[in-house]
């Protein structure tokens, strides 16, 4: 964890969710006939975090980094082996049932709502959050209007596209106000209009009610644009925690160069061949992380002379959170999405 973030944790009064030393180990599975065993896995490994009131706090990491396991422990769905979770003063490890009365959770699965209409899914969820019929209906109508779902209100979720269904589940999560929203990849499959609806609904709740948001994502662009602070997870551990800008400062000295070749890389050009052992190769795409001077030299080389004929496209970019993840020693070379 960065020093800056650690200092910010000192003023305790505004901490909505305090996580200390959270560890969960999945036991080893013994191999059976035809199925190989799996070794013991530390899904979350000594995770310590503070989420402050009114912020959008992100958990970023590739698939399998332990994001969803961590969130399941924060929402009372899973008991950690050791460690503590305190949300707004309530001990969630000891009283997991209280989580449902403090937070709203949008999981990745919609099976419980799939055969309901959008309107009934939202209304029922509101009623199960303790609202009476009239309040549940009023809030349902407000939320569906706010998210532009009113025209789909009578359609079953099953018949909607993936992004629309996700938006309908998000609507259900908003009915029956909660001070903490836990959203597990809420915008998966959504078009830009739906995404904008989600983030403006979140912003409105932050501005009007000081709602806090815990967002799970593996989308780097989304993380950079919407998050106030982000914890980067890798193999169950928090490897960094800061603002996106603060994290990017750690690799500020670097520039990313992406080269896309028409066919194969022109290895007969000596300058290109020399780069070979420093690139991350993905098909026709080469990715390099270089100092600014060096990057300029590489671009000059490939845009002039023999290499240019083989070049399809190139980009020069300042570091993204993906570069931060890799620079911090993140194990997965792929798995973060840029979209």
């Amino acid at each position: 964890m960065s020093k800056r973030a650690a200092q910010a944790f000192r003023h305790d009064g505004d901490v909505v969710c305090a996580v200390r030393g959270l560890t969960k180990t999945y036991p080893a599975v013994r191999g059976r006939r035809g199925a190989p065993g799996t070794p013991e896995v530390r899904a979350t490994d000594d995770v310590t975090l503070d989420i402050r009131r009114g912020e959008i706090f992100g958990l970023l990491g590739p698939n399998g980094a332990g994001k969803s396991t961590l969130v399941r422990q924060l929402t009372g769905l899973m008991r950690p082996d050791t460690g503590s979770v305190e949300i707004l003063g309530h001990d969630i490890v000891r009283h997991p049932e209280r989580a449902a009365r403090i937070l709203a959770y949008l999981g990745q699965e919609s099976t419980a709502l799939d055969e309901l209409t959008v309107s009934l899914a939202a209304e029922t969820t509101g009623r199960l959050r303790g609202l009476d019929v009239r309040r549940a209906r009023a809030e349902r109508d407000d939320v569906l209007d706010e998210l532009g779902l009113a025209s789909l209100a009578g359609r079953p979720l099953k018949k909607l596209s993936g992004g629309q269904r996700r938006l309908a589940c998000f609507a259900a999560a908003l009915v029956g106000e909660r001070p903490l929203l836990v959203l597990d990849e809420p915008t998966t499959g959504m078009d830009p209009v739906a995404r904008r609806a989600v983030w403006s609904a979140v912003d409105r709740r932050r501005a009007e009610r000081g709602t806090t948001v815990l967002l799970v994502t593996h989308n780097v662009i989304e993380a950079e644009t919407v998050l106030d602070r982000v914890a980067v997870l890798d193999r169950g551990r928090v490897i960094a925690c800061d603002t996106p800008g603060g994290l990017k400062e750690q690799v500020a000295g670097e520039v990313r160069v992406d080269l896309v070749w028409r066919d194969a890389a022109p290895l007969h050009v000596p300058e290109v061949a020399a780069l070979r052992d420093r690139v991350v190769e993905a098909g026709r795409r080469w990715t390099l992380r270089l100092g600014p001077e060096e990057a300029r030299a590489v671009v000059a080389t490939v845009t002039g002379g023999a290499a240019f004929a083989a070049l399809d496209d190139f980009t020069l970019a300042t570091p993204s959170l993906e570069d931060v993840y890799l620079a911090l020693g993140g194990a997965a070379r792929q798995g973060l999405v840029k979209a």
Partner: protein, 273 residues
Amino acid sequence: MSVVPADVLPGSALAAEEPAANAAELGPRARLWPSLAAVYRAQLSRARVARIPLLFVATFQSIGIMILMRGVVDDGAEAQAVVAGSSVLVVAFVALNLLAQYFGQLRASGGLDHYATLPVPPAAVVLGAAGAYASFTVPGTVVTAVFGCVLFGLPLAHLWILVAVIPLAGAALAGLGAALGLLAPRPELATLLGQMGMSAALLLGVLPADRMPEVVRFTRDLLPSTYGVEAFARTFGPDPDWAFVLGDLAVCGAVGVVSLAVATWAYRRAAVR
């Protein structure tokens, strides 16, 4: 589980379990009956989307069985057993088999998380779903019973007994189905158990009992649907013995209470891992 809303209790009543003084106020709990009604209504609406499996398949199956048995059984006690067995089979198919599959899939896919992160009593989720599945059986059971009576020339006079048979057999079989679906470690296993329960209800309920060997008859006595079948079959006689009818229905009701309690426990266990 308390059915009193938290927000009507004075602060001191909760003080024993409320720890830190600076802890934020919790949102209200959903009370048992309103949330049960909400779950029931939502589940019931699923019939609009999944009409064919939930409402029609079981009825066609039972009517087909009765037509097949028409040439095999005589018109007396055996016909009564076939009509009663086929009618209750509709309940077994939907409430036991389909509900076991539903909960099995919900558990395996993580759909239970949705309910587990809402402050809703477990009993509301289980009873709401079981009640809806029992309700899905009403049209099919009535249609099957009327069709059977006409087919075998049985009196329609006491068909009103279905008003008691459907909910009580429905409670027993839906409770069993919910428990099997929530306890099965894998969804395929939940499907298999549901199918087997339904097959047992078919073989042991529809076929006349007096032709069966002793061991099979004992198994038949263990199956809750049997008591629904017996209660219903007795009412076709010229002078039904209502005490026995009540006794059979009481067994259904007792099994229903126990199995729904087990299903509620199984839900709690499945919801938090």
